[in-house]
């Protein structure tokens, strides 16, 4: 499978996840408190996705490679950190769900948990990618 093919499908998948999350969020109806946290994250992610698409198109038109050995190294570091933190995030959600069976806590259906995890992973990967991209990497 070529690199271009992979990148295209990653972008499409990311966009699909974001749009699905927005659709589910609107359907479920967030409270004002939750919306004040979740909606900026959704909007932020949408901007990042659109920005990434614009960046990929302009760089490709200019004949500049999208990825090289250093960007792959940085992607790998960010992905590794996202995996570890993502597992902790999902464990936290699981413990919350277990706790909700014993004490009264607000809960949503499984789709919301999955969408929240996807959104969290996407945001975290973006942030860690940016962080490692700025740092010296030997």
């Amino acid at each position: 499978m070529s690199g271009n093919f992979n990148r295209k499908w990653i972008m499409v998948t990311v966009l699909a996840v974001v749009l699905t999350y927005v659709a589910i969020g609107l359907y479920q109806g967030f409270s004002i408190g939750v919306s004040s946290i979740v909606l900026p994250v959704i909007v932020g992610n949408l901007f990042v996705v659109v920005g990434m698409l614009y960046w990929v198109i302009t760089e490709r038109r200019a004949g500049i490679p999208i990825a090289d050995e250093r960007s792959q190294l940085v992607d790998g570091k960010a992905a590794k950190l996202t995996l570890v933190v993502g597992i902790y995030f999902m464990m936290a959600l699981t413990f919350y769900d277990i706790a909700a069976q014993f004490i009264t806590l607000p809960t949503k259906n499984a789709a919301i948990y999955l969408a929240a995890s996807a959104m969290f992973l996407l945001s975290f990967f973006g942030l860690s990618r940016w962080y490692y991209g700025k740092r010296r990497s030997r």
Binding site: G63, I64, P65, A67, D68, E69, R70, S71, G133, R136, S137, R138
Partner: protein, 74 residues
């Protein structure tokens, strides 16, 4: 990894090349050239050879380590 000193900036100035031009010639991103130039990223052997070839120089003329770092354990 040991930091490496490079003469890329000097050689670019000699040949009138921008970081972007060099990046395009060796097939990497401009940021990578910037990091390599500042000794903040050790390039792969392939990239180092490509960069040296652009300047028609040997790898050791472009990338320089202290003699102490190059001591062999014989």
């Amino acid at each position: 990894m040991t930091p490496v000193r490079t003469r890329i900036k000097e050689l670019r100035a000699r040949d009138g090349l921008r970081q972007e031009d060099l990046a395009r010639m060796v097939g990497c991103r401009r940021e990578t050239i910037s990091f390599v130039e500042n000794g903040e990223y050790n390039p792969s052997l392939l990239l180092a050879v490509k960069i040296a070839r652009v300047f028609e120089a040997n790898v050791e003329e472009v990338f320089q380590y202290d003699e102490g770092e190059l001591m062999l354990n014989l």
